[in-house]
């Protein structure tokens, strides 16, 4: 029994299809993110680390246990037959350097501070063959960076961090994985950049169960997933910026729910993204993705989010929608506003309420939608709806957007971000309840193994993969200058 249902929202738009963008995995608008990770346009990093091909010969073939060279670089497969063997032999600060090839492995990482890097993003392929669960799974190991490789055909996730402080995923391609593409759960201080995810029934990219998350998603592309981005119960210094979410069932969907800890979702910042055509009917999709289908940026039950300067167009429902999330089979009661600032680490230690309602209605509240450019979103470029609480009492605001339609009508007059609103909230409201009935008629999920996807793209490599030094995620700094980010130009065509 899946216990999700939902609510949702609507929006408005006005968009433009203009300038071109690169068509690589990390469509790059100009990032304004401080990052420790290499960036496509950055110059090669000076390094003392030897190139992989310069590795000293240390062991007999197959003698993985004694293969470590002592230079902090562990080569696969020339020194270690498998990635797992190299990871197991590595010490904090080491670099695991993987040569082109297909690796049928599910790699577990429990050592802090490793850098796991492919020499060629497109030719270093971890393949789960629809049998293995996670391509690379980092469990409680802080500061692990994964770079420049492809994970595909895993039954669960392409790359997965859980319960860590410090993580980074750069130049990763996650393709046709059975749950998430790139997945950071219960983890803080992280960065996902220049990566691509396609063909996952849940989300291409996910950051969840963290507050404050202290994390950024920058210059990624998600297409043909159930959700482009999902962030359940995440937020707090969390940024989704400069990225492209297209042709998923739904685009960017942060939400609240008691099926994970650290509720509610709050304080995420979504800036400078291209979000378009998220109506894709033939993707793998979890139930929420089917329910949210046709929305660009949808905030089911999220609180105090900032949605700014995104370009959003071509959606059957809303461009940007703030809607309730109806959760059946709840596991706790909804926190009161005075509990919203409780850090995740503290909240998770608290027992659930003694009396738990069967159903929770998470309302979207106090979100700010400012300066976005929207068009051709058929249920409203901008939209907002309350179900348990009158829509006008939810404290959401809209200002400075370039749009054609809203639901309710005249939304920026009804709910400005400065000053008092005025008008009639009953005019052309967003009918989110009808979405619940429509779900039965929407295209069902397609098995992730069989879904028709765009061909796996050949994407940019990280700079100097062979020579750049290890770059563990020990010092991730999240410092996004929102003011410096502009509305991205639409791609050519």
């Amino acid at each position: 029994m899946k216990r999700l249902a939902l609510g949702l929202a609507a929006v408005l738009v006005l968009a433009a299809c203009g300038g071109s963008d690169d068509d690589s995995g990390g469509p790059g608008t100009d990032a304004a993110v401080e990052t420790e990770a290499p960036v496509e346009t950055e110059a090669p990093v000076e390094t003392d680390a030897p190139a992989a091909t310069d590795a000293p010969e240390t062991t007999e073939a197959g003698d993985d246990a004694g293969a470590a060279r002592g230079d902090g670089v562990l080569d696969v497969p020339s020194e270690f037959d498998t990635i797992q063997a190299a990871v197991d032999a590595a010490e904090p600060g080491d670099l695991i350097l993987i040569e082109p090839g297909t690796y049928n492995e599910a790699v577990n990482v429990v050592t802090d501070g490793l850098t796991i890097r492919g020499l060629d993003r497109n030719e270093v392929v971890l393949d789960g063959a629809f049998e293995l669960d996670n391509g690379i799974r980092v469990l409680g190991a802080n500061g692990v960076a994964v770079e420049n490789l492809t994970t595909q055909n895993y039954t669960s996730n392409g790359v997965f961090w859980t319960s860590v402080d410090g993580y980074r995923g750069s130049y990763i391609t996650a393709y046709r994985n059975g749950d998430y593409g790139i997945y950071a759960f219960d983890s803080v201080t992280g960065q996902l950049d220049n990566s691509y995810a396609s063909g996952s029934p849940d989300a291409g990219f996910y950051i969840g169960q963290c507050f404050p998350c202290d994390a950024v998603i920058d210059r990624v592309t998600a297409e043909h997933n159930g959700l482009g981005y999902s962030g359940t119960n995440s937020g707090g210094n969390l940024f989704i910026v400069n990225s492209t979410f297209n042709n998923n069932r739904a685009g960017i969907v942060p939400n609240s729910g008691s099926y994970e800890l650290c509720y509610p979702e709050r304080e995420s910042t979504i800036v400078g993204n291209l979000v378009y055509s998220n109506n894709q009917p033939d993707t793998p999709a979890i139930d929420v993705a089917i329910l949210a289908m046709g929305n660009g940026i949808l905030v089911p039950g999220g609180i105090d989010n900032l949605i700014v300067k995104n370009r959003v167009w071509d959606h059957d429902k809303t461009g940007i929608g703030l809607v309730p999330f109806l959760e059946e089979g709840a596991n706790d009661d909804i926190p009161t506003p005075d509990e919203w600032d409780t850090p995740c680490a503290e909240q998770r230690e608290q027992p659930p309420a003694e009396e738990i309602p069967d159903t929770l209605l998470w309302e979207a509240q106090f979100n700010q939608v400012i300066g976005n450019v929207l068009s051709d979103n058929r249920a409203g470029d901008l939209g907002v709806a309350g179900v348990g609480v009158a829509t006008e009492e939810l404290g959401n605001c809209f200002a400075g957007n370039d749009f054609e339609t809203t639901a309710p009508a005249a939304l920026e007059t009804l709910a400005p971000c400065e000053g008092e609103g005025a008008g009639d909230w009953s005019v052309e409201p967003l009918d989110v309840l009808s979405w619940l009935t429509e779900i039965e008629s929407r295209p069902p999920s397609v098995d992730y193994q069989d879904a028709e996807l765009p061909p796996k793209p050949v994407l940019d490599n990280m700079p100097d993969a062979a020579t750049a030094p290890a770059a563990p995620a020990n010092d991730i700094v999240i410092d996004v200058d929102v003011d410096a980010i502009e509305v991205p130009a639409a791609p050519a065509g």
Binding site: M1, G140, S156, D186, D202, Y259, L261
Partner: protein, 171 residues
């Protein structure tokens, strides 16, 4: 909702779900509802063909292997709940007396499993039997610590892990 419960445990629990349960005040169950009669709610109703549930008896539906009885105490009729969220067992550690059944329910959106850390143990719920909405029940009839984890979201030490602490029944 699918119920993955062991025929053996089911039968035992059903047999014990009358008025013969222990004094509830003497059962130091932590963190979950203690439900006399909950066995029936969980579909525990077939009392045929077992009378005990030994340690490490597999409790999956359809398992017809006869239970062992070494050191086992009789079931006390109590069923204590552990919820599998995404990706946390809640409560992570549960303390019960021997003879108590633990009922896990996957109340997350994702697949999980319940796998004993002790690879020799025969209890547990595989992924295909523990999808969202599924339940799994196992009767713990011998004192000890029973760590377990979800292999998808944890190693035995880190991530989605849990422990059942089974105390002697006479505590």
């Amino acid at each position: 909702m699918r119920l993955v419960a062991a025929a053996a445990a089911v039968a035992v629990l059903a047999a014990a779900c009358g008025d013969d349960g222990p004094d509830e005040s003497a059962v130091p169950v932590v963190g979950a509802a203690e439900e006399a009669g909950a066995a029936e709610e969980a579909g525990v109703e077939d009392a045929a063909n077992d009378d005990t549930a030994g340690n490490d008896d597999t409790t999956e539906a359809g398992d017809t292997a006869p239970p062992t009885t070494t050191g086992a105490v009789p079931p006390n009729g109590d069923v204590v709940d552990v919820v599998a969220l995404d990706n946390t067992f809640r409560p992570e550690t549960i303390e019960v007396v021997a003879g108590t059944a633990i009922r896990w329910e996957n109340r997350g959106r994702n697949d999980h499993n319940v796998i004993p850390t002790d690879e020799a143990a025969s209890w547990g719920a595989p992924t295909e039997a523990f999808a969202p909405g599924d339940e799994y029940i196992y009767l713990f009839d011998t004192p000890g610590e029973y760590p377990y984890y979800c292999t998808i979201h944890a190693t035995p030490e880190v991530g989605m892990i849990g422990t059942v602490v089974v105390l002697p029944a006479d505590r």
